[in-house]
Each structure stands twice: as structure tokens, then as C-alpha cells.
């Protein structure tokens, strides 16, 4: 029956239901993904970020929280300039990580 209204979906992240398959796969190829401490250096230096919403920090976090499609959307803004890799204090090769992620997403499409 259609009442003309419905309940708004909850924005709560339910960690019980998060599927870690993609995150685990990413960590296999890019173990350094686990090293991220969410400092935000990568996002602050990102040339594409202000215009496209790209943020490496948020991509990694999104995958950790099961927001895979949001992460994928953000990745499309990346120009692979590599500035984020230069500033990462934990030495994560973020550019390589982005490429690996694109490859994983590509595998899914095939």
C-alpha cells in the first residue's frame, strides 16, 4: 500500500553488516592501506579534490565502512598527479593504491 510517504533511511553505519571483502582484497595488494591515520594531507594537497570531491582519505575510509560505490565515484575525479603520495607522512604510495583500486573495481565489471 502506498501512503505517499515512507521512512527515511538511517544514515547509521552498522559495522555488523559491513562487508570487508573489498577492503581485504585491497589490503592484499596494498598492505599500506591499513596504515592510513586519516590525517588528511592527501586531500588537502589534491588538485582535483575541490572540483570533484576526490579524497584519498575518504576513499580508504569509505572502503573500510562498506561505502564502496561512493569510493568508486570519488576515484573517477583522480588525475593521477601523485601529489598525495609526496605528502603522505606514513609513506603510503597513494597513487599506486588508487591504481590498484581501479584495477579491483575493473575486475568487478568484467
Amino acid at each position: 500500500m502506498d501512503f505517499g510517504f515512507s521512512i527515511s533511511p538511517s544514515s547509521t553505519i552498522n559495522l555488523d553488516k559491513v562487508d570487508f571483502t573489498l577492503y581485504d582484497r585491497l589490503c592484499e595488494i596494498e598492505p599500506d592501506a591499513k596504515k592510513c591515520m586519516a590525517c588528511g594531507s592527501c586531500s588537502a594537497t589534491c588538485t582535483a579534490g575541490p572540483w570533484t570531491g576526490m579524497s584519498v582519505r575518504k576513499v580508504i575510509l569509505g572502503i573500510q565502512r562498506g561505502k564502496e560505490s561512493e569510493a568508486e565515484k570519488m576515484l573517477k575525479g583522480c588525475m593521477l598527479c601523485g601529489k598525495c603520495t609526496m605528502v603522505c607522512p606514513r609513506g603510503i604510495n597513494t597513487r599506486h593504491l588508487i591504481l590498484s583500486l581501479c584495477r579491483i573495481y575493473g575486475e568487478g565489471e568484467r
Binding site: 547509521t12 553505519i13 552498522n14 559495522l15 598492505p31 591499513k34 596504515k35 591515520m37
Partner: protein, 339 residues
Amino acid sequence: MKDNIVIIGGGIAGMEAAHQLLLLGYKPILVEKSDHLGGHVADWHKLFPDMSPAKDAVRDLEEKIKEANIFLETEVSFINRLKNGYNVMFTNGVNVICKAILLATGFNLFEASRKEEYGYGIYNQVMTNSDLERWFNTGDDKRINGKEIKKVGFVHCVGSRDVKAGNPQCSKVCCITAIKQAMEVKEFFPDAEVYCFYMDLRLFGKKYEDFYIKAQMESGVHFIRGRVSEVSENIEGKVIVKTEDTLSGKPAKVTLDLLVLMSGIVCNKQAVDTASLVQVKTDSDGFLKSKDNILNIIETDSKGVFLAGTATGPKTVPETVAEARAAALAIHNYLVTLK
């Protein structure tokens, strides 16, 4: 030789100070209210960053202070001020005239049940950092034994950085303790998912940041930035934790088999009473008041009364030991000037 020195508190601060005073040729009197030396460290399992057994550290100090006069299960009944010293009466009936007093009275662990929203003492599967150390030591806890432990959470800042709980100070050592315990839990239960709920990680000490990276890289601990707001219990007896994942800017919840509360270091109320007998006041943070907090942390405004260890605020083991050594030297220098 020489002059009597009374050390109040038989934790590692009191023990190390006694050890150094013995080396300087004094015969200090060490009083401890419990039936054993070592204080909180004696109840701990392993110490960061070397992960050496806490009982070895206590045993090592015990060996070094055999020559001291040690009164266990003894407290101070009263202290009278004399012209150049103090007359201290103990609960065991011993009466001592001494030139110097060292207050090494330590801290109390925050009573986790006061944070009712975290459910300690209400829900079965909630324990404290100290309960977990006891389980590491004894292997005896019905919250863990015989239970399937698949998901474990650690709540940072329980009773610390909490103005409403009366403890605005950072307890300093809980961040690294939580990471240490998270990694130890992962060793016991390799398949378990382990979560740390933190506001920010204050990993100031030697090798602490290495612990953090190791917890992320090797142990796979999940770090969720956000202070836990409430805990509830489901019909299966598991605990449901609610927090905001502040990095995502969204509320988050997770069901856990075991929740560990990182109870903070708070001032020892009994120590405040003892300190008042020698006119040592409390500072604005509730801990005992030093002469100043930069160059004279060990000294007080009362002549011949000194401080060491967590009596003046949260400290690590190496910091406490270093301060105890400094206090022993300060007492020695003070006694020399009296002559």
C-alpha cells in the same frame, strides 16, 4: 647512619626511591597499605613498550630494597610537625621521628561503574583495562572463559578528559595501554575483530607510534574516531556500542562479545587526606600540589616533604621511576643542607 626518612606508598615510586636512598646510605622506612609491594604495576601483566612482564619489574625492585624497613598493611595515623622534621605515627603502633617524608601515594583507577552509560557492573560482557590485565595474569574471568570471543571493543578515555566526571585531565597512558591490550587480545583470538573507539590517539612516548602502526598493519585493529555515547545489551547478552564515526560524520553502531573500558588515572583521595597532615594541598586537577609544575615537581611548599610518581598526575612507569630517583636525590640534598 643517619636520618630517618619515611616513604608513604609502596608502589614503584616508593620502591625506587627507597632503593636510591639505600644506595646513598640511608635506611628509609617504607609503608604500604596493602599486603604487597608494587602497587598497580604488581597487578599488571606486561609493560609497554618492551612488553616485559610487570612482575619482573616489581621483583627486581623488591630485591633491591631488602635492607629497607618495610611495613605492609600499614597506614599513617597522624603526623605532627616538629622543629626540624616530623613525628609520624603508623597504624601498626610504630612511632617515628623523621627529617623527611616522601609522598609516593600513587593514583586510583577511575571507578568505571560511575559512567553508567557504559554499563560496567550492569551488562555481563563489559570489563575494565584492569580486569583484562587480571585475566592475562590469572586466566580467570567468566566474561571471557567459555565464551565465543569474535568481536572486542576498547573504549578510550573512560573517566578521563571528562569534566562531568570531575576528571578533566588526560590520563595519558590509556591510549597506548588500549593499543597494547588490543594487540594482546588479537594474539589470544586471532580471528576476532578488534575495535578501538578513541577521540584522538595521544601516543607521545618512546615507540608508542610504532605500536600504533603495528596494531594497524599486523594486528588489523579497527580504529574508530569517536567517543562512545552509550552501550546496551541485546537478548543474546552481547553489547551494542553506539558512537559517532566522526571521520565519516555519521553515527555508527557495532555488536560486540566483549567491551573493555579504559579506566583513567584519577587522584587518590586517601592520599589527599594524608598529604593534608603535612599541609600539602591539592592542585586544580585534584592531584597533590608541587612547589611548581616545571622545575620543582618533586618539592612541596612544606619543608622536608617531597613527592614522587603519580601522586602529582598521570605518569608512565619510566617517568615514575625517574621521578623517584630525582626525589631520593632531592631528599639527600635537603638533609645535607640541614647539617
